[in-house]
Symmetry: D2
């Protein structure tokens, strides 16, 4: 096996230690320690087991979680209901590599209902809900994942999905971070040729795909669902509008009314944060590098400042730039006592947490995901999630958001799997066709009892549109 | 001792069992079982101990909690700093009966700093933070309280504070619910004559005081701080604006965007809920009995409806009326699957929870403070906190709100203790003088770096106002 | 006749000249010049005419205006419909002294429909809509008013209403500013004894009444409708929330998005202004003298500052304090080029306009109600309505707001006229009984298709309320 | 000259009559009648005059208007200041065909300051501000435009700009609606070959360009500035957010609080309308054909309905679809008395006004731009601007919005004029390069005292961006 490195975020996480990553409800933390399940399997003479999870006995509890998630994921369930007779994924053999939780379980079982066979591994060593993995395995799915995988186990699990066998010739990849694609390409180059398409979910994975494409190494069409309209708006604007409030409340119990806050970055995430904070009575400042976004912030009623101008007076600092080193030690030196620092951007680089690991500063863990960094003079800064995504302070993403993402992924798989050969070039990365994006949205409208208006023939002709869409040019900004 | 009943909410709580009332951080739950501390004290031959708490050894942890609370309670700390030289409560002997937690500890220690001696008991058998009680006892305060008091212990504790001794002749009462006042009046009628004033915090306690006053049984002036301006606005409008979001998020993880909700009652609490829900993207309906509040709701952009008009379509039902039987079984029969029912009003009567305790319905506890009520056809209703205050789903009130309340209580004590005899009649219940209300507000302005404008002499003369207030007529509505 | 001065605002207006007070739609401006109508009447040997208006021939146009106003004043029309059979004002003889326009015409005709006889004069020399006065006169009402009355004519008109005759013994006064009350008291002291009650609308008039009461000169009960709940909220919060936007747009066409503005005063008017400006994308600062209002501003998300802190940077300055000298020449010296100065408070004293009438500054009238004050260095300040109420820049108050006021006035008249003798003391000024306030509100709910919930018997008992109200204690703040 | 038809909207306007199109401040309406200026010129033996305007004597008044506009157009003035030394339009010979008012005058004079020579005609027969045209002509610009041009005059004016002469070989076109391009192509095909680029502003003109491009008839590169980011957001979202309020207030004086309204279409314009109406207390419903926009509406808190579901209950109907026949006679039959109908979309087709011109309905003009349509039963519908753009009810577009548009146009001209030959293909229509869009935004930031953050070298490298932009991929949605 060639030398592979675990995806970028993992090493940091490992350094910081397991105790800080408690995402569970506490029910299974004890089992995370000790022997890795795949070692037991191997030791038991099962190098290629049908599945590998922490404890199959937990399946009933996991099944209940899945059933609850089904109720809250109307879009993907509607897709399952509508398409299950057509079986648009008949004979599809999908390698999946995503977080494994109740919500992705609903996706997995939907793909199966649409005709696909799947083998699935986790894209993150800590995020697997063991009970859900157990429920899926118990239902006959080839699941290879548990909470607290070792690095070696991480790749072993993915490899269980990618390796072709007599009965398993994967022809599709659903990836979240690019690890399955990466391993397939490096280790199973021959099998990779059977792949008809890759659907990639994450910023990082998409970035890797564009690089592969540019380098001429991508020999299958790939679909970037990370930038589809519904996903972007839901995962970013609408979801962050709520999760920033939730994350701050759960971790600090602070009161928003009258608090001064600065949001670094006025992209979709920053817009959502600003809107929510303003709505709950905060005074909000914005920093931006892009004059267009800065002008939007101004027109939306926010003072656009450099961070230094307000750093001494704010109660809350939120990063949402996707950049690195946005909040530096120097900034933190100037913050006032009790200032809360919270990252809503895509990585743990925005706040220079490393610069806080100096002997003069005392770290005090005050509750899960909340540290006080204490200066020699007694000043405390409240750091959430050690500068990683503050969403981690919330219990989970809203199922509704995940439903949109899952429906998008499923439709992207259907599209790539069924598209005529000429539609997508082998070496390119595509955005989801607008019509599919619109279809995802339409799947979710009934939840809101929203009633769509239909064009009359005359109106459609006047607008030069097909009555069933797509309704907008590609450059439309929503 | 005459027959006394524990205040109204307690029996219900007892029936429902301890496991449903877990308000703690989990650190001390084990100790709640077993022998009541006062029994040990009595058994040890200490019928009148200096204090009685669960475990004095926990004092250091409690002290840290108090210190953190001090940071977040700027108003009461400012009062402590400003008045500690004047000692306006010199020789005051205060019987206190409130919740006992880090925040009330800050109040207690402030009263002491202003010159008072105190003896303190809990107003609720479940709400005491044992560590904080330990810290106070360790610091020399006469604290009688622990989490999970028996009914007998509850009254024993209060009695330790009320009973006069050679060194203890109480002359002030700070009450929350009226139990200390009640016991003093019933059991220590002679000692009651030494009381110079009562400060009462709760709706229930205030109601009791007005009844006593009306019945001619109140022989001391009492101050109703429950209806002071700052307290009303902070505890209700501003606090509920945030806690409704927090309570719903923590308990259900639902997404607000696009959800239809109905808020029953458009008083301060209802206004706060509506404002927050609308701000986060809900469609909000309002029910009202009072045409003035209904008109306000309409002008604020909410459809005013009867509950039956929307009950089938809403995703969230919130009660904030102070009334009983607002949401009936009949309403709940019509709710759609997954509808969340949440009480933000003052008691557990708003939602007719009792009517849900029928054999045909299955109750499933899905997490702390969240039950699914399951109909025979599988329909689930999500009931928060069993119809009691949904705030219980949040970890605690924001310290800032408590700071306002605490400062108000302290100022009311100072006013009653120092007022010339003729200012307050013996048998009446008073609102806090406006100037005191304004003073409480001014104590909290520095937190927001808010800078007050001062009247010039000419302006004050023009307006007919004293330059230092009060600034408004008594009927001003804010 | 004793020496009487016209109410305070008029002389200022006269000094500033008629051309600046053009409130009309332009249709009748020509007639304002020339002979005063009452001189013609007197010259024609009619010292006590049945009415006196500018031009009775305009009645048809005025009638159409009244009919349109009727459509937009649902509350007062509903009152007319409900009470016209009861005739609660039977035999009432009302002296009216208010603005005379289509909306007050609806009030006047409603009072008549309820049984009253009226004689009516204008409370302001410029605000009469001549066409409406003509329509009323044509319909048989004793109207004495025209646009552009001389001071002498102003008092002559009021006197036509107050002077008792063989057929006219006034027994009620509806006043707006106190001029009819004043004249009655000074000139017709004997007739004044027949008055059963005074209803006063304005801040100034109410102030005068309290002074009379204090001085022991008030010998009839008076009702202060200026501070009734519905009126306060509608005339101030809700109405100003819209009129500030309208006034600024009509006069300056500025764009709100991104503009920095400061609102002086956070009472109901200031709250309305702040809410609207924030909603349309302004950055809003607040100044306050009252710590309670300041704290509300902070919790509502506004920085509370002293005017000097922001005066150099703001684009818009709004006064809403009711005070004098809030914006001084010194402040205006520091304003930036193009800064708009706008008064939403109660008088023309808030902005020190007088201090701008110096030789170094050039005044340039750029459109009706808008002046540029030009500094020697070319800096321009945009002053609206010469510092008088910026509402003057809008065409009129929304009919809906006037409907609330008119219904309140009518109900106050009914209450005072029908109350048993002991209910109201001769020398006191009263607020409208809450039940009447609630009734006014209920008259307006159908406009919004708002459906009130009714208490069950059990609920009413639980709350200790009558099922039909009143629903709140007097100190309730809404 | 080939047969040319005036652009689509004009004939409708002509049919409806001049009196309904009064856009002026009233100062020059008299002159609109009578002889067309170019006839005088021709009669005077000046077939090719240096300019042709209504009355050159009005230049001083026009100049003052231009100077005021300069103050309110910071972006275009900043561009003028920054680029006037570089003269990036040196030797450019620009045919301009736009509205002619104070704001476009600032653009014209900026183009001249940057080195260009211009000849300019109006793109609309009614929108010319005669005084401004006079000021420009007086300053030496070749302006051919007046208010109330005949169709023949309209084309004559454009032809004066397009026709090449010894000293005039146009090499750039700035068009708004496509008429100059059209005439050039049809009548001056030879001269057309000298054109280096076309900048087109309007939806209609852009549509024509795409058709020409598709048909292979476009032989110069064209730039579609209509879809540039800043223009889209400013002209639509931000501008309409304010103008919907302004238009409705000025025309109807209605109160927004509590009104029910429906907005047809949730594009940028619809979003702006909804946001403003909600903010001022309306209950807002949305209709949509596109599921993505519908989902956005839902998540933003609006009920998504079919028009028929709410048509009987709403007080305000707003169209913002760009479609035809959105509000039909049938809908209007069901509206309630007093319902206001207002078009914010792009044309006069959205409301089927034609269907209201039936004998049973009475039209009553109640003020400029406001008609009451009266049903036999007395029901009135209030129609704004006869179904044309309700913006016409406002006095003008905010200068700030126009500044953004003008700066965008100028930069597009600079880009096309200076671009190396290979950058733009001859037959294509381009969007403004993102960097130019960002530059337009940056020109306007100082107005808001907004301070942009600069990337460090390290950050730029991390993001893979140039420190000066562009900062976003082309598909970014803002």
């Amino acid at each position: 096996m060639p030398k592979l490195s675990v995806s970028a975020t993992v090493p940091t996480i490992l350094e910081e230690g397991v105790e800080k990553l408690d995402l569970s409800d506490g029910s299974s933390s004890d089992e995370d320690e000790g022997v890795q399940p795949h070692e037991k399997a191997i030791a038991a003479g099962q190098p290629n087991p049908a599945y590998c999870v922490r404890n199959i006995e937990q399946h009933a509890f996991g099944r209940r979680e899945i059933e609850i998630a089904e109720q809250e994921m109307p879009g993907i369930m509607a897709l399952r209901a509508r398409a299950k007779d057509d079986k648009p994924l008949k004979d599809a053999k999908i390698v999946g590599c995503t977080h494994i939780n109740a919500q992705t379980a609903v996706l997995i079982e939907t793909l199966a209902a649409l005709g696909a066979t799947v083998r699935w591994a986790a894209c993150n060593i800590y995020s697997t809900q063991n009970e859900v993995a157990a429920a899926l395995a118990h239902a006959g799915y080839a699941i290879f994942a548990w909470r607290g995988e070792s690095e070696e186990a991480f790749w072993w699990c993915i490899d269980q999905c990618c390796t072709p066998t007599a009965t398993w010739t994967p022809n599709m990849i659903l990836d979240d971070g690019g690890d399955a694609t990466h391993l397939m390409l490096k280790k199973h180059a021959a099998a990779f040729k059977h792949i008809k398409g890759i659907v990639e979910e994450s910023v990082t994975g998409v970035h890797r795909l564009y690089q592969l494409s540019k380098a001429g190494k991508l020999c299958v069409p790939a679909m970037n669902v990370n930038d589809s309209v519904t996903k972007t708006k839901f995962d970013n604007l609408y979801s962050c509008r709520e999760s920033i409030i939730d994350a701050l409340k759960r971790s600090t119990d602070l009161m928003f009314g009258g608090k001064q806050s600065v949001v670094c970055g006025y992209g979709e995430v920053g817009k959502g944060c600003c809107q929510a904070l303003k709505a709950l009575g905060c005074v909000v400042y914005v920093t931006e590098i892009d004059p267009i976004c800065a002008l939007q912030a101004a027109m939306d009623g926010f003072r656009v400042v450099k961070l230094n101008e307000v750093i001494r007076q704010v109660d809350i600092v939120i990063t949402a730039t996707g950049n690195k080193g946005v909040v530096t030690r120097e900034h933190m030196e100037r913050m006032k006592n009790g200032c809360v620092v919270c990252n809503m951007g895509h990585s743990n680089t925005e706040v220079d947490v490393h610069a806080l690991r100096t002997p003069d500063l005392l770290w005090e863990r005050v509750r899960s995901q909340v540290d006080h960094i204490i200066w020699p003079n007694g000043k405390r800064i409240v750091l959430l999630a050690e500068g990683r995504l503050a969403n981690l302070c919330c219990s989970s993403l809203p199922s509704f958001v995940v439903s949109v993402t899952a429906a998008t992924q499923a439709l992207a798989l259907i599209e790539l799997y069924n598209a005529p050969h000429h539609r997508y070039k082998q070496a390119d990365v595509y955005l989801l066709p607008k019509k599919m994006d619109e279809y995802v949205a339409s799947l979710h409208l009934p939840t809101f009892d929203a009633h769509l208006t239909e064009l009359t023939d005359e109106q459609a002709k006047y607008l030069g549109l097909n009555k069933v869409g797509p309704f907008k040019p590609n450059y439309y900004r929503y």
